[in-house]
């Protein structure tokens, strides 16, 4: 009964091999096996989205997936957003626009926002709202969250524009 299973999950670029119980949820694997507690457990019923991570670049709720289902796949969590000590543009924008109050929903919001901006560089207001349909902010701070995501989109555009300009000297 309940034999442990060997799985390998790549999290934020690093492969992790563990023997796990089949009933271990992905969020528990991330938090308890790997110690990455940035991913939160909120409702634990697939409503709130605090546990949102990117699985093979798509947002999913890690409380409603078994760790064994992620075997061989790539997961990105909020800890993977910062690069070389620099916050991701979405993190910067959340800070700048006061897009977090208690902060509990923030890791999930950030992952949904990152996925949106990776697949849609210039989202409309409605597209931003739809992208966080599965993320609940109990502080009801949605206005600033939406502003922050829009601002991050502008910032990413601006930076990539500069890089293109810099790479093409007149």
């Amino acid at each position: 009964m309940n034999d442990r299973i060997l799985i390998t999950v790549t999290v934020n670029g690093a492969p992790h091999e563990r023997e796990v119980e089949p009933r271990l949820l992905l969020v528990q694997f991330i938090r308890e096996e790997l110690g990455l507690t940035g991913t939160h457990i909120g409702c634990d019923t697939s409503y709130c989205g605090a546990c949102t991570v990117l699985l093979n670049d798509l947002p999913i709720k890690s409380c409603t997936m078994l760790a064994v289902q992620a075997d061989g796949y790539e997961v990105r969590t909020v800890e993977g957003l910062e690069k070389d000590g620099k916050l991701h543009a979405v993190q910067d924008a959340f800070s700048e626009h006061h897009a977090l109050q208690c902060g509990y929903c923030t890791p999930g919001m950030l992952m949904s926002a990152c996925h949106l901006l990776e697949t849609n560089a210039r989202p409309t207001d409605l597209e931003i709202r739809k992208s966080i349909q599965g993320n609940l902010c109990r502080c009801t701070g949605y206005s600033n969250i939406i502003k922050a995501i829009a601002s991050a989109a502008d910032k990413i555009q601006e930076v990539s524009g500069q890089e293109v300009a810099g790479g093409n000297p007149v």
Partner: protein, 297 residues
């Protein structure tokens, strides 16, 4: 919340999955995207001895336009269906696929799982009733095709035999001059609909040639509202006919009081959503592009 302990098996082929299910017997459950099953297991409404994971079986997620018939593999996710050329061509499919829960759930949840769960709140069975769909299954005795009518026999009970799994769904492509709409009213995106209504109308020279109306979350199973269809077929969608169809849809439903609302509230929603879906279906049948998303409280 941890599910009760179980053994986990990952099937590589449909035959292997059927063999595992037949060998294990009653205690086995099928895991695809897990978006219905895991919630049930975490709440310990069910404690299977074994899970057979079919999620990685190759070529079971194809979305295929075969001319007259649309074939969708059991493992196609709601988001992949929602972004497909088929959803673009058949707006009622887009309504349904893109209206299910939220982005995260749509990335994992599958059409096969939605149908196999036998949950009257799941959207795909109601949509398949609206489009007169069929269910392709495979079990120890081979493959067979079941009509959506009668497939969900009772709450969480389907016509699937022991060790039989759904491999795909199919429906006829709506004819030229046909339009449909799937309208839902929900508490919030991740919630199941409080009420869902699907309508598909084929209109020729202003007259309704054929109509199909199905209701979701309106009883213990998805409900085909045949009497409501009869009010529309042969008519010209006059206000009186539409009102009678909405009344007949309410009469066909068997809603109950729960956290989503009282039975009376749900009856009013059925009437309103039936009229709304008829109106959108009529405009789409006329070639108009009409946006349609779930409505929230």
């Amino acid at each position: 919340m941890y599910p009760a302990p179980f053994q986990y098996h990952r099937a590589k082929t449909v035959d292997e999955a059927v063999g595992l299910l037949a060998g294990i017997g009653e205690g086995a459950r099928v895991l695809a995207g897990g978006q219905s099953l895991l919630a049930i297991l975490k709440l310990r409404f069910d404690e299977p001895t074994d899970l057979v994971d079919i999620g990685r079986i190759a070529n079971l997620d194809q979305i295929d336009d075969a001319g007259e018939v649309i074939n969708i593999g059991a493992l196609a996710t709601h988001n992949r269906i929602g972004a497909s050329a088929i959803a673009e061509a058949i707006p009622i499919v887009s309504d349904c696929a893109n209206g299910i829960a939220d982005n995260q759930v749509r990335n994992l949840g599958t059409i096969g799982g939605s149908v196999a769960s036998g949950d009257p709140s799941c959207d795909w069975p109601t949509l398949l009733h609206t489009l007169d769909g069929e269910i392709l299954c495979q079990g120890p005795d081979g493959a067979r095709t079941l009509d959506i009518n009668g497939f969900v026999e009772d709450l969480y009970q389907t016509a699937l035999k022991p060790a039989e799994i759904i491999t795909g769904l199919r429906f006829k492509k709506p004819a030229a001059g046909s339009g449909g709409a799937y309208c839902t009213f929900k508490r919030c995106a991740p919630a199941y609909p409080t009420i869902a209504v699907g309508v598909q109308l084929t209109i020729r020279n202003g007259q309704v040639d054929s109509s199909r109306i199905a209701l979701g979350s309106a009883g213990l199973t998805p409900i085909r509202a045949s009497a409501a269809e009869a009010e529309l077929t042969g008519g010209s969608l006059g206000a009186d006919e539409i009102n009678k169809a909405a009344e007949a849809a309410v009469a066909a439903a068997d809603p109950y009081d729960d956290r989503r609302g009282s039975a009376e509230f749900k009856r009013q929603l059925i009437a309103t959503l039936t009229k709304r879906a008829i109106a959108i279906a009529q405009r789409r049948a006329g070639g108009e592009t009409v946006k349609n998303s779930p409505e929230y409280y």
